[in-house]
Amino acid sequence: MIAGISIYEILTVTSILFFIGVYGFITRKNLISILMSIELILNASVINFVVINKYLYPDLLQGVFFSIFIIAVAAAETALAVAIIINLYRQIASVEVKDTETMKY
């Protein structure tokens, strides 16, 4: 509990963060930037888990567990994504989205 801060304010902040992430995900043209936007989205939702756990069901810890899992998955995902990006870079010397369209259609 944060003294003087209601759950609404926190959720507002996380919503804003979430949409900033979405905005970035759609507008960015670079694979790494997109990855970063995804991190933003993930984090916004992690906060939600935690905050709802804390404010509404303080006796339980599910929210916390979930956030831990999400962080773990995010780490794994990032590792993989970075691997892919590097490999891609080796293949085509670029990590721009527009250069990776050969598999389209």
Partner: protein, 639 residues
């Protein structure tokens, strides 16, 4: 009396055709000639025997000649309407059998000499067989459909024979023209048959021609545009006949048909096939006469008279001897039509009909003779044109004499056959229609003139120097000439009025002395003029043609009818109808279908664009969609 054996008359030439056609290359030319001649001799013998039996052994029963019909059903339409195949024996069909078999036999014999050495020799005899078969079938037909069937078959034989020299473009074009023009005429014939079949319920000549039958009595039961529908049918059928018989304005194919070998011209385009139209009208004569008081018959008379005059005028100016003869044929056919047109039905009234058939007979003989004679000349000088001929009497005595006989016969000089038949026609015309009589008598003069122009041009006139000295043709060619000359001289004495009349009863014919004298004088004037102009080489003729100037030019160009037809077919049908249809098909009909296809492709490309494969685009649509759905479900769709 059993006439079943008559079926052999057409079948023998058919067998010869199949034999020669299928084993074309395997048969030696000499043998194929013999096969053809042997077949036709048998047919001819049978024909003569039939004629003898029919006219003299059986003769008249109760004062009229009987009609014998034997037929089998060939195809059923309904229980009552069917196409039969069979033979019909009555005076005109028997007479036609004699004409066709005689001429055909003569031409067969003649061709053995004329076609010698040609590499299509066997094919030629095969086609002659096919033609003889079809012509016999036509003559013996028992009903309208059968006659139509054989009508088409003679048409195709004519096509094949005109196009016999198929490597020559002009021959191919002429064959095509002949077929298409007659085909167009047959369209009328066919529609006429359809009308008759529907309104009378039968195609049988016997039923149709019965003067007390329902067809003739009930002709007024239905009408179309002010005329009885049966009259329309008869007019349309006459259209078919006019096409085959080269009546104006469907005559244009006949002069071109002279591209065929000369024996073919003699057989098909002078003596037999072209009279099919006359025969058809004669065959349906009671209908023509009784339905609507002979309205259709009047049309026949006027068309015949006009064609006769028209062709005679053109014939004067032509320089190709075969074309002169072709126009002469057309003119004489018009004569026969005219005679039919002015004929009555009962007793002596039927003189026109009788004269027409009489003239058909005599004309077949002397016109075939003229053609064969012309063939003999062409064979000798290797040219069709008058300018390459002259003084041939010294080289070709037999041809000269026989040609002269034929020319005298066609000019109506006493006592040759043409005199008798032509005289009867003029009598009939004089009794029924004075206008037509004057046309007839004028044409008679013209005929004598152009015929002797031809005769003098070929056998007298200028002394032409020939590269190869012409010589008389071999016996195989001169023999038929002599036979035909003999018939041309004496066939006038056959008592046709006893044998062939519309009511089949016969009547006593008398020579109408004043009319005969007038006709003879006119004929002699024509011959005299020709003698002055063409006997010796002089420039009278040229001066005259220059004097007539434009008229001469028009006549020489056959009044530009070929050009008119060419204009209609080439410019109008090909370019104005067929061309636009082809374009319409490509652009509009096909274009529509194609357009549908192309539009589908374009739209699918557009749709494919949405499916860009970019995750970000999908995300955008996903977000946008989710937002819209959320808006809808949360705010708009609240109960």
């Amino acid at each position: 009396m059993n006439f079943t054996y008559i079926i052999l008359i057409p079948l023998i030439p058919l067998v010869s055709f199949l034999l020669l056609g299928i084993f074309n290359k395997k048969i030696k030319p000499g043998i194929s000639g013999y096969i053809g001649v042997a077949g036709l001799s048998t047919s001819a013998a049978l024909s003569f025997y039939t004629a003898y039996t029919y006219f003299f052994t059986i003769g008249k029963v109760d004062g009229v000649y009987q009609t014998f019909v034997e037929k089998i059903t060939w195809m059923n339409f309904t229980d009552t309407l069917a196409i039969d195949m069979g033979i019909l024996i009555d005076p005109i069909s028997v007479m036609m059998l004699v004409v066709v078999s005689t001429i055909s036999l003569m031409v067969h014999i003649y061709s053995r000499g004329y076609m010698k050495g040609d590499d299509g020799y066997t094919r030629f005899f095969a086609f002659l067989g096919l033609f003889s078969f079809s012509m016999f079938g036509l003559v013996l037909a028992t009903n309208l459909f059968q006659i139509y069937i054989f009508w088409e078959l003679v048409g195709v034989s004519s096509f094949l024979l005109i196009g016999y020299y198929y490597t020559k473009s002009s021959a191919v074009a002429a064959a095509k023209k002949a077929f298409i023009v007659t085909r167009f005429a047959d369209l009328g014939f066919l529609i006429g048959i359809l009308i008759i079949g529907y309104y009378t319920g039968t195609y049988d000549f016997e039923t149709l021609n019965n003067p007390e039958g329902s067809t003739i009595l009930n002709w007024a039961s239905s009408s179309f545009m002010g005329l009885s529908i049966i009259t329309w049918a008869l007019i349309l059928i006459f259209m078919g006949g006019a096409g085959k018989s080269a009546m104006f304005p469907l005559h244009i194919w006949l002069p071109d048909a002279m591209e065929g070998p000369t024996p073919v011209s003699a057989l098909i385009h002078a003596a037999t096939m072209v009279v099919a139209g006359v025969y058809l009208v004669a065959r349906l004569f009671p209908m023509y006469y009784f339905v609507e008081d002979g309205f259709a018959l009047n049309i026949v008379a006027y068309v015949g008279a006009f064609s006769s005059l028209f062709a005679a005028i053109i014939a004067i100016t032509q320089t190709d001897i075969k074309r002169v003869l072709a126009f002469s044929t057309m003119s004489q056919l018009g004569y026969m039509m005219l005679a039919l047109g002015v004929s009555g039905y009962d007793g002596h009234e039927g003189v026109g009909y009788m004269a027409s058939m009489f003239h058909l007979f005599t004309h077949a003989m002397f016109k075939a003779l003229l053609f064969l004679g012309a063939g003999s000349v062409i064979h000798a000088v290797h040219s069709n044109y008058l300018k390459d001929m002259g003084s041939l009497r010294k080289y070709m005595p037999i041809t000269n004499i026989t040609f002269l006989v034929a020319a005298l016969a066609i000019s109506g000089v006493f006592p040759l056959s043409g005199f008798w038949s032509k005289d009867e026609i003029l009598v009939a015309a004089f009794e029924h229609n004075k206008l037509i009589y004057f046309v007839g008598i004028f044409v008679a003069g013209l005929t004598a003139f152009y015929m002797f122009r031809l005769y003098f041009g070929i056998f007298w006139g200028k002394n032409t120097t020939y590269k190869h000295t012409p010589h008389e043709s071999p016996i195989s060619m001169t023999f038929p000439l002599m036979i035909l000359a003999f018939i041309s001289i004496f066939s006038g004495f056959i008592p046709f009025s006893e044998l062939i009349t519309p009511d089949k009863a016969g009547f006593e014919a008398h020579l109408n002395i004043p009319l005969a004298i007038v006709a003879t004088i006119i004929g002699l004037i024509g011959i005299g003029l020709a003698y002055i102009f063409y006997k010796k080489e002089n420039d009278l003729a040229d001066r005259f043609s220059n004097a007539f100037g434009i008229f001469y030019k028009w006549t020489f160009n056959k009044f530009y009818f070929d050009e008119i037809y060419l204009f209609v077919t080439k410019k109008i049908i090909f370019n104005r109808i067929a061309g636009p249809i082809a374009r319409f098909d490509k652009k509009v009909v096909d274009g529509t279908m194609e357009g549908i296809g192309n539009k589908t492709v374009v739209i699918s490309k557009k749709i494919k664009g949405i499916q860009s494969g970019k995750v970000q685009d999908y995300a955008l649509s996903f977000i946008a969609g989710a937002v819209v759905l959320a808006l809808v479900f949360i705010y708009l769709w609240t109960n």
